[in-house]
């Protein structure tokens, strides 16, 4: 294993310290671990908090700052953070507007964030959980833990963060977040496996002439393995998987403030279609050079043009990664005016900033 790290136990802490040293717009707490924005929020602003296992940098800590997340809770590498982390973090940044947890749909993340939300709501701090489950590689939610949360997370954090900054209340932020989730679809692939520092070796073996289609962001093997092929072919496979995905319905849990308990609600994602306008994310998984992502974007743009789908906004780069994995993912979020407005709003975080 070749990594720029010191002791395996210190990886997360030291990376947090490095981030805090480099960026004045964020601060860190180490016991328990969380990252929060330096600039004070307006009284009554909804606290937008995310978190998850580490290894996906810049997500989430790199998205903490004005116009995006109020705070992020990094867990161990690929391991959900713990409820006490989220609880302490929420107590730190909550400012009278309640808390919105943006949670990627993995069993661990879901359970830990649910426990935290229960604790906070139990204390009278209004807390809602929103899931991101956008990975079309996971086909049938009946026989799985449901779709994984991947690239749409970045876009949701940007949009909901901007809405909270603009004064949306907890319910409005939650509605908007659900809308973004219902409009986001992603699909990824890997050229190589990643190496978890503590494991010291690749998660899976893959031959020099094979690639893995449908991987997530945890070095987990994907759905199928195919012989290596061109960037155009790979982009086509990912993009078509996204467009072929039909209307998708599932039950997701909301906190019901009246009954003080979880409640299942249906969320439907409508299939993409001609005429749609998209925010596109062509994402590197950590070990892939930016230049190669542009080759993917080129083909994505061509395919979408042929489908009469407009890529109204885009991000090309490594924003939600799987350590040093080589590979990429494509995320499309069907935009509307509200979504574009908050996408374009000013943001000032370590990883995303525009005015």
């Amino acid at each position: 294993m070749k990594k720029l790290i010191n002791k395996v136990e210190d990886v997360i802490t030291e990376q947090m310290e490095g981030m805090a040293a480099a960026h004045a717009n964020i601060q860190i707490n180490l016991e328990p671990k969380y990252v929060w924005r330096t600039k004070e929020t307006k009284k009554g602003k909804v606290a937008i908090i995310s978190g998850g296992g580490s290894g996906h940098e810049p997500m989430h800590a790199g998205f903490v700052g004005v116009g995006m997340l109020d705070a992020a809770c990094p867990g161990e590498v690929f391991t959900s953070p713990t409820p006490d982390q989220m609880y302490e973090c929420a107590k730190k940044v909550e400012n009278g507007g309640g808390v919105l947890f943006l949670v990627k749909n993995y069993t661990g993340d879901v359970m830990n964030f649910e426990m935290a939300a229960e604790m906070l709501n139990g204390e009278g701090i209004k807390t809602q959980n929103i899931l991101i489950d956008d990975d079309v590689a996971v086909k049938d939610s009946l026989y799985t833990a449901g779709r994984r949360g991947v690239g749409t997370t970045v876009i949701m954090e940007k949009i909901v963060g901007a809405a909270a900054e603009a004064g949306y209340d907890l319910e409005q932020c939650a509605e908007l977040a659900k809308k973004v989730n219902s409009r986001g679809r992603s699909m990824g692939m890997a050229l190589t496996s990643c190496i978890v520092p503590a494991a010291g070796k690749p998660n899976f073996d893959i031959a020099e002439d094979e690639i893995e289609i449908g991987v997530g962001i945890h070095g987990e093997p994907g759905r199928r393995r195919i012989p290596i092929t061109t960037a155009d072919e790979i982009t086509t496979i990912l993009t078509e998987a996204i467009f072929e995905d039909k209307d998708y319905s599932r039950l997701l849990r909301d906190w019901n403030f009246a009954t003080n308990d979880w409640e299942e609600k249906e969320l439907v994602s409508k299939a993409f279609t001609s005429g749609d306008k998209m925010i596109a994310l062509v994402n590197g998984l950590g070990g892939t050079p930016l230049s190669e992502l542009y080759c993917v974007y080129r083909k994505l743009d061509e395919i979408c043009k042929a489908k009469n789908v407009e890529l109204s906004r885009n991000l090309v780069g490594s924003y939600i990664t799987a350590l040093d994995m080589q590979g990429c993912s494509i995320t499309l979020v069907r935009a509307d005016e509200e979504i574009l407005k908050f996408w374009d709003a000013a943001v000032d975080t370590p990883a995303l900033h525009w005015a």
Binding site: E76, P83, D84, G108, M111, M115, T144, V196, N203, R223
Partner: protein, 211 residues
Amino acid sequence: METIKLSQLITWLEKIAAYMQENKTYLTELDSAIGDADHGFNMERGFQKVIGKIEELKQSKDASVLLKNTGMTLISSIGGASGPLYGTFFLQASMVLKDKNELTLEDLKSSFENGLKGIKSRGRATTGEKTMIDVLEPVVTTLITAVEQNLTISDALTNMLAAAEKGMKSTIDMLATKGRASYLGERSVGHQDPGATSSYFIVKALKESIN
């Protein structure tokens, strides 16, 4: 009447910690095949934390305090799926042991039963989904039978361990429908579930602490 002493429960926790340390790589390798290669590290980290507090826990005269503390520590130090699940198991197990400083077989049964119920409701899963439940459910069933049949604790534990081992192995052929392994679909078949394996070690540690 035959009982399990607090000191034996302490030994149990210590033995679990030892098993998790010893099998850190093994559990992680199982998780690397169908998950994300961290289960061994997670379990080791969690139970090392429990051990770090063991001296303090030894002061307590109450089994429920012991197990509740264990649950809280696991919740705040493991993360991932196994943190809330095992955390909930010990927390819920502790609920039925208020003020007890020794456990009858009946107590053991109730606490495991309640712990399992906690896991199932937190994880919204049932047997046959290739999880730790495939070990813990048959273990609880064995315990219920043992109580009904009035077995000695020692015999009950022997049966529990056999059930645990069988349950663990039964996960090999299962198709995962919960947790990370479910993303693999058919490709999850043929691999033993890491969480079922750590559950087996927990039962094994219990048997060895009491015999």
